[in-house]
């Protein structure tokens, strides 16, 4: 199900996918053929807009653009892998507004001097992106070469270095840092990897400017973001919200809670469990959630009803994340299954001593080639804070 909220900028309101003519009618033409001074002006405009990465990390987009623009012969990768299983926002975006994503990819390539942009699309929307790219080719629209690839599946496949390695070698697993991708990425070229939603915002900033972009969101965190709302809500789906809208209001836009709520998982499977009572009035922004130890992340909100056991749900997520380890790094490969087992024991009421669990969380945190173990640890620690170490007795 799809819900276009009152802040709908990115999601085509019609039946979608928007054809090229419909897309152009709605947004107007994309600025093209930018010369160097115009590129620098537009990158500065993106900086003034305050656009940050919408894939979860939230890095300032203008800084990434500038870093890669300064490099020789770079390449652009549009990341539509969406490995987070409960998230649907990137898929919905590509399914409704494929040309907005392609506009952003073309623009990012022009801004950085790249001749090629690789679009890595979730398999559900691969054909839509193929068709959109073909439409543009027939129209002779882009100087930049667009290459569409099917994304790998699996949770870690969406990590930027894993996406690059997937394109290059067919292996969807992260690589060691350094080198950073902006220095040496795809086929050794300096590489800009941006989430597809970020690129869609970029395509709108290029048309309408920073002040327009900042009309939504908060002064510190401007713009809109796509969120996926799931769990105990009446109309689960993808919404576009202004950053900073209270979490409770976002749930209302998703039809409202379908049961009294115990907790929210904010940000994704790598996210943070927070008490529903504490979270519902909070702005959905980094600043609004910081003292809860949470953040909007990649925009996933899972509503957990009072009738469900938070530890049991956490055990399920922990086991899933353990299974999604790329298996390259020992602490993640061996530690996450061990941790999942401990969480399962807690959830089953077999044990209430969290000493070993906490020891292992400490031994896994920060000890991988990518952030997979760190994210799992963060989520499990937040569950211990929010749910305590004892399973709910009302099951």
């Amino acid at each position: 199900m799809l819900l276009a909220g009152p802040q709908a900028r990115l999601l085509y309101p019609g039946a979608g996918p928007a054809r090229l003519a419909e897309h152009t009618a709605r947004y107007g033409p994309l600025p093209r053929g930018l010369r160097r001074p115009q590129r620098e002006t537009l990158i500065a405009e993106v900086g003034r807009a305050g656009l940050t990465g919408r894939g979860g990390a939230g890095f300032p987009t203008a800084r990434k653009l500038a870093a890669v623009a300064a490099a020789h012969a770079p390449v652009v990768v549009a990341n539509g892998t969406e490995g987070e299983p409960a998230s649907a926002k990137d898929r919905v975006l590509m399914a409704r507004s494929p040309h907005l994503v392609l506009d952003g990819a073309v623009l990012a390539a022009e801004l950085t001097g790249a001749r090629e942009a690789v679009i890595v699309a979730h398999r559900d929307v691969r054909e839509i992106m193929d068709e959109a790219a073909a439409e543009r080719a027939r129209a002779g629209l882009d100087r930049v070469r667009l290459v569409v690839r099917t994304a790998a599946e699996g949770f870690v496949a969406g990590q930027a270095s894993a996406v690059v390695r997937w394109i290059q070698r067919g292996v969807p697993a992260p690589t060691a840092t350094p080198p950073r991708l902006a220095q040496r990425g795809l086929h050794g070229a300096p590489t800009l990897v941006q989430n597809v939603e970020t690129l869609a915002h970029l395509a709108l900033i290029a048309r309408y400017g920073a002040a327009w972009f900042r009309a939504a969101g908060t002064p510190a965190e401007p713009g809109t973001m796509l969120v996926t709302v799931t769990g105990a809500v009446r109309q689960p789906g993808v919404l576009e919200i202004g950053i900073g809208v209270p979490a409770g209001q976002v749930l209302e836009q998703a039809g409202g809670a379908s049961a009294p709520l115990r907790a929210l998982l904010l940000g994704g499977y790598f996210g943070t469990w927070v008490d529903a009572a504490a979270a519902l009035g909070r702005p959905l922004s980094s600043a609004g959630l910081a003292d809860l130890g949470a953040g909007p992340g990649a925009g996933l909100i899972v509503a957990l009803p009072t009738g469900a056991c938070g530890l049991r749900e956490t055990a399920r997520l922990a086991r899933y994340l353990a299974g999604q380890s790329a298996g390259q790094c020992g602490p993640c490969r061996f530690g996450l299954p061990a941790i999942a087992g401990e969480v399962e024991r807690l959830a089953a009421g077999q044990d209430t001593d969290t000493g070993l669990l906490r020891r292992w969380l400490g031994q896994v945190d920060g000890r991988g080639g990518c952030a997979h173990p760190d994210g799992a640890v963060r989520m499990i620690r937040s569950a211990l804070r929010t749910f305590g170490a004892e399973p709910d007795t009302h099951r």
Binding site: Q328, G330, G335, G369
Partner: protein, 77 residues
């Protein structure tokens, strides 16, 4: 500990593990027990501190001894 800094000196060097490359052979922890221990699965836990000057030669030898080339000395945080 060395108080000198600048090019060509060892100031600010820390041990780092490339966990993608690391196999958990344990050579490093045996060679440099003052700075490296093993977690419950046999993978190195390096102390997050600048390598003291008196251990620097040992640390460099340990880096060279790693059979997977997974241990490095890096400057800065």
């Amino acid at each position: 500990m060395s108080g000198r800094s600048g090019p060509g000196t060892a100031a600010g060097l820390r041990l780092r593990v490339d966990f993608i490359a690391c196999d958990g052979r344990g050579v490093c922890a045996a060679a440099l027990p003052g700075l490296i221990s093993l977690d419950d699965w046999g993978f190195p836990v390096v102390r997050d501190e600048v390598v003291p000057g008196r251990l620097l030669a040992d640390a460099q030898a340990t880096v060279r001894a790693c059979p997977k080339l997974a241990l490095r000395l890096e400057r800065g945080r």
